[in-house]
């Protein structure tokens, strides 16, 4: 192996899949071989059977749909508010000076710790779930977008000024396109975190969703269902990640060439 040397796409995919195979093989050997008690860890076959039951008997598809809806709803709400604010902070230093200290502080407030308060304020309905995700994503997004915009190459900004660009022109035609790939990358990253928050929100005070199913299964010691639920979340995350990467490649061909 040579450091940093790229590998062929086919080999890359094969190696990536190989790890999944190894992972499942170790898991199967540990459980089916009888090394781990079924009470603590279900084997892959039981997990698949339980998963099938979930869809067939317990309407798990509905749980998935509601969880996806919550994540997307809360995340989009946060993105719609955070991206413009982050851009304004990155572009204009007085705005940054005004918001940055508070946002930096708020970013460390754990979203899950707000759940009791949010239940008090918003009840246990959908609004509460959306707010947990909103709080968890908003502050992170604001800061990361501000950094992306603020780190625009100064010489490009100067070049734009010497070409007659106005202050608004610089924001619109230099800062935004320059930061766009980093902003998209930020959204991809924070969407991943939003998935963690939604499950936490559903573990407490929810009557539907993947997180709720996991709590129910815990009461029944059904590790197969729990693991199936976790894997479903992983698969959805993987799909959305691929979606983001695909869109970024289409939207910003210049940053990859």
């Amino acid at each position: 192996m040579t450091p940093l040397k790229p590998i062929a796409p086919g080999r890359k995919a094969a190696l990536g899949i190989a790890f999944f195979v190894v992972f499942v093989a170790v898991w199967a050997a540990a459980t089916l071989g009888g090394f781990v008690s079924k009470t603590f860890l279900a084997d892959p076959l039981t997990m698949l059977r339980e998963g099938w039951d979930l869809f067939a008997k317990f309407g798990f598809a509905g749980d998935i749909a509601i969880t996806v809806w919550r994540v997307l709803g809360g995340f989009l709400l946060a993105a719609v508010c955070a991206v413009p604010l982050g851009i304004a902070m990155g572009a204009y230093k007085p705005i940054e000076a005004f918001f940055e200290p508070f946002v930096s502080f708020a970013r460390y407030l754990p979203a899950s710790a707000f759940i009791p308060l949010l239940i008090l304020w918003a009840g246990i309905g959908e609004l509460q779930k959306l707010l947990v995700i909103f709080i968890g994503s908003f502050f992170q997004l604001v800061l990361m977008v501000a950094v992306a915009v603020g780190s625009t190459r100064r010489d490009l900004v100067e070049a734009a000024y010497t070409l007659g660009a106005s202050a608004r022109g610089v924001v619109r035609r230099v800062l935004l396109p320059s930061a766009a790939p980093a902003i998209a990358e930020t959204l991809r990253l924070v969407l991943g975190w939003a998935w963690t928050y939604v499950i936490v929100a559903e573990l407490i005070g929810a009557s539907s969703g993947i997180g709720h199913m996991i709590t129910d299964s815990q009461a029944l010691l059904n590790t197969g269902q729990i693991i199936f639920g976790i894997i479903v979340i992983g698969v959805i995350g993987l799909i959305s990640d691929f979606g983001f990467k695909w869109a970024n490649q289409r939207l910003f061909p210049w940053s990859l060439a």
Binding site: T162, P253, A257
Partner: protein
């Protein structure tokens, strides 16, 4: 009236953490006539780039003022095109879109923009590369595009800050001829900063030699070599004589820096 008048322009940078302020540029005065090609020659750190940035409006002078066509320079604007030493093409725009950047900012109709871009793309010899992104181009091609981008705006004066500084010698020589060819054809007022003596003489109608920091103008040498110029000019006795003279001027300054350091 001169096209560009630099009047007692000096620049002092404030001291860092209570340190002494740095005088980058002692008050200098310089007059540039219409269609002059002036090179500013000096050792590194002599304030020549600072002077150019002040003319561009990217930096403000501590003393004095810059007048362009009788109007005071206070901010950067489309009337002063600039080419930087670093590659400053917008990476998200193609060659053509980069060249049209200033035109679009002016609100010029698409059709006119494309005509002007096509003209300059031909001038810099990049026909066929219109839709390439900067990353796909060599350093020389990027700087040629940057020159076209500045010229497309039809500025009153073109400012070049060591534009070929990062290029290899062969490319650099070709670029000098290319830029000179464009100047001979289109007639522009040009201020060209460099630390390369040969380049300074080959390009210029006048070479302004600057001293080591704090920078001031040490000599103003007219270069009466005929146009159009060809690379063979660099081996003529007249060229060599000028080069010997300027080498001596610069050497004294470079020595000062080396001894002080």
């Amino acid at each position: 009236m001169s096209k560009l008048a630099i009047e007692d322009v000096g620049r002092t940078f404030p001291g860092v953490r209570g340190g002494k302020p740095t005088v980058a540029l002692e008050p200098v005065s310089l007059r540039v006539e219409d269609n002059d090609f002036i090179t500013i020659l000096g050792p590194s750190g002599c304030g020549k780039s600072t002077l150019l940035r002040i003319v561009a409006g990217l930096d403000t002078p501590s003393t004095g003022r810059v007048m362009l066509d009788g109007a005071r320079v206070v901010a950067p604007g489309a009337d002063r095109g600039m080419v930087f030493q670093s590659y400053t093409l917008f990476p998200w725009l193609t060659v053509r879109e980069n060249i049209c950047f200033g035109l679009r900012e002016k609100g010029m109709p698409q059709k006119e923009q494309r005509e002007i871009a096509a003209h300059y793309i031909g001038r810099i010899g990049l026909a066929g590369f219109e839709n390439h992104y900067p990353k796909m181009l060599s350093g020389g091609m990027q700087q040629r595009t940057a020159i076209a981008r500045a010229l497309a705006n039809d500025p009153k004066i073109l400012l070049l800050d060591e534009p070929f500084g990062a290029l290899d010698n062969q490319t650099r020589a070709l670029m000098q001829e290319l830029l000179l060819g464009i100047w001979e054809a289109e007639k522009k007022t040009v201020l060209f900063v460099t630390h390369d003596i040969e380049e300074a003489i080959f390009m210029a109608g006048r070479v302004v030699v600057m001293s080591a920091r704090p920078g001031r103008i040490k000599a103003d040498v007219a270069v009466d070599l005929p146009h159009p110029r060809h690379y063979t000019l660099k081996t003529t006795p007249e060229f060599s004589a000028l080069k010997a003279r300027l080498t001596e001027e610069i050497r004294v300054e470079a020595l000062k820096v080396a001894v002080a350091a």
